[in-house]
């Protein structure tokens, strides 16, 4: 029907124009700036340096440490989110007691501002006034300086990411579970398949496409993590919890090293694109079988 009404252009162009303007200008601006040596403080006029910014970034150990930190946070947090979220979705779907009540409560964290969540986390992890260390004392464990030692701070950030974004996995997996046909399970029950066999043979494979999408979305989003870290540790102690976005922010907004920051954000973009393409390429054969 109505395949070629010219009014379709009126419908689509406002959105396309806004996204083009807000997406393409910054892209071109950063791309061109990333090949220049350009500082605002102290003011230096732009000078073409070719791939100089990229080369010096790639040689800097701090860059690689930041990449490693960001990857660790993203991969570990998303793995835990997926397992816990899937388990909770299965439990909710099987109507655990209190299921109605928890449906709203369990989804709450993902709608809350990450900066506020990070503040709450700082309270909970506080060594003297926080409830967590009191619990540790109660069960006989030593009090831990959660946010001031490198490894614990990283673990705390991952914990907060898991706390905040597991609900997203629950939501999506629950919606996926509701689309599964009942008759397959009835057939499986007739053949006396155990619950685990049913999960392995039916539920998991049938939810593979949505699982792939959920993990993909969460990985991409986790790579951009900034607000939580900004409030919880500020990247510290030292630079042990600094993420890519925070690093770019420090370089750009504190040092006003424009060329360098642009190159950094472009490298970030390349990393995400390469990563996303590999992920999709790896998953494609598995997904197409299901179609």
């Amino acid at each position: 029907m109505m395949r070629n009404d010219p009014i379709k252009h009126v419908f689509i162009w406002p959105a396309v124009l806004i996204v083009l303007i807000v997406a393409i200008f910054p892209l071109i601006y950063s791309l061109t700036t990333s090949f220049m040596s350009y500082r605002l403080v102290p003011p230096t006029p732009p000078r073409f340096v070719g791939l100089g910014n990229y080369a010096s970034l790639l040689q800097q150990p701090r860059f690689w440490q930041v990449v490693a930190t960001t990857t660790t946070i993203a991969v570990v947090a998303v793995a835990i989110q997926y397992v816990v979220g899937f388990a909770c979705a299965l439990a909710l779907h099987a109507k655990v007691p209190g299921e109605k009540l928890f449906r709203v409560g369990l989804l709450l964290p993902m709608l809350l501002a990450p900066v506020a969540v990070a503040l709450i986390a700082r309270m909970v992890f506080n060594p003297t006034m926080g409830p967590l260390n009191q619990l540790m004392t109660l069960v006989g464990l030593p009090n831990l300086p959660f946010l001031t030692t490198a490894n614990w701070a990283l673990a705390c950030i991952i914990a907060v990411e898991v706390w905040q974004w597991t609900p997203f996995v629950i939501l999506m997996m629950l919606a996926g579970l509701q689309t599964l046909p009942d008759d397959v399970y009835e057939a499986a029950a007739l053949e006396n398949a155990t619950a685990w066999q049913q999960f392995k043979g039916i539920t998991f494979p049938m939810l593979l496409p949505i699982s792939a999408a959920v993990v993909f979305i969460r990985l991409i989003e986790s790579f951009k993590i900034m607000d939580t870290v900004f409030v919880m540790t500020g990247g510290g102690p030292g630079i042990s919890t600094e993420t890519l976005t925070l690093f770019a922010y420090q370089e750009g907004f504190k040092k006003f090293n424009l060329g360098y920051t642009s190159a950094l954000s472009f490298l970030f973009l390349i990393v995400i694109t390469v990563f996303g393409t590999i992920y999709l390429a790896l998953l494609k054969p598995h997904l197409e079988k299901r179609r």
Partner: protein, 345 residues
């Protein structure tokens, strides 16, 4: 159904599942309880070690809220209004424009040549470089010229019988969604610089309503297009076809038939984009300084101000999260009607 309900599993496993589930529910809800009670604690009940139960371990006070209202910890009233205005208007505009685009992408066929996309990028980049380096124009004028020329050029190329692959509706949707993959720091930092340059030529964008809203609209559009496409695709086409036969103009079909039929979807999409804008931190950090600061910036600043006054910090955090909690309750009522199913299929 029986196969997937808890009754088909052994009693030990069932107990383990229930215990595990309740443990997670506790982990999820405890921090929220904690921030609620802390916001009503008197300072000694915070500093002297953790206290848990109001009235038993401490007497609730309104001290923290009085401090906030008195403006000791920053201008919360104004910031709250800013967040509300920016959030509501950008979510509304993004939902409207995104829904229009999604509808067009569901009901009409679009064909964009890959060549025309490449021409757009090449022209925009080339003319911008030529404008700044060869013609000696400023960055902003050359961007404007480059953009218009690239747009005209790519539309012309699309008309010509150019070789190469042709992109369809799915590719356009992918293009929209892929904008969300972008690390926002690329956009935020460059927008900050571009806004400052435009500001130097007399048109202020940093720390203004339009500067922030424009960027939030663009930031929400990909999600809106993605969600609304599924809602529209699920609509029965017969009503629209009947209206077509009666020669009702397209825009009236959209406003009077399609929009009312997808009202729950529009509401959910509006709320989801509102929550994104309300909680957004990075763009607000770069693009506002004082007048149009939003809540996340003010809340993040509580950390360093006046030390660890956790009772007041809790109150500040609550101001940022309570509106979203109310919205979550509304949203979950919408979702119970199986609203998200379409987005998943």
């Amino acid at each position: 159904m029986s196969a997937r309900s808890l009754s088909s599993i052994g009693p030990v496993a069932r107990a383990a599942i229930v215990v595990g589930f309740f443990a997670w529910a506790f982990v999820t809800l405890f921090p929220l309880y904690w921030v609620f009670v802390t916001a009503f604690k008197p300072p000694p009940a915070v500093v002297g070690g953790p206290t848990y139960i109001p009235f038993l371990q401490f007497m609730p006070t309104m001290q923290a809220w009085e401090d906030i209202l008195a403006g000791i910890r920053g201008d919360f009233a104004n910031t709250f209004i800013n967040s509300t205005i920016v959030g509501l208007s950008s979510a509304a505009i993004a939902t409207l424009l995104g829904a229009m685009a999604a509808y067009a992408l569901v009901r009409f066929e679009f064909r964009v040549k890959l060549a025309s996309g490449l021409v757009f990028f090449a022209l925009a980049l080339g003319l911008y470089l030529a404008g700044t380096n060869l013609l000696g124009l400023g960055r902003v004028p050359s961007m404007g010229i480059a953009f218009v020329a690239a747009l005209v050029g790519s539309i012309l190329v699309n008309r010509l019988p150019a070789p190469g692959p042709v992109l369809g509706n799915d590719d356009i949707i992918f293009w929209f969604v892929s904008q969300r993959m972008f690390p926002p720091i690329v956009t935020a930092f460059a927008l900050f610089l571009i806004y400052s340059e435009i500001g130097r030529s007399g048109f202020r964008l940093i720390d203004t309503y339009w500067g922030l809203t424009l960027c939030y609209i663009a930031f929400s559009l990909p999600i809106v297009v993605w969600l609304m496409r599924d809602f529209f695709a699920a609509l029965p086409i017969e009503l629209e076809e009947a209206a077509m036969v009666d020669n009702v103009p397209m825009w009236r079909i959209f406003v009077e038939i399609v929009m009312p039929m997808s009202a729950p979807g529009l509401a959910a999409t509006f709320m989801i984009s509102l929550s994104f804008v309300w909680n957004e931190f990075l763009f607000a950090l770069f693009l506002t300084t004082s007048k149009w600061q939003t809540l996340p910036i003010l809340v993040a600043g509580q950390n360093s101000q006046r030390g660890d006054e956790w009772w007041a910090i809790s109150a500040a955090a609550l101001i940022a999260i309570v509106p979203m909690m109310i919205m979550a309750a509304l949203l979950s009522r919408l979702m119970r009607s199986g609203l998200l199913l379409g987005a998943v299929k």
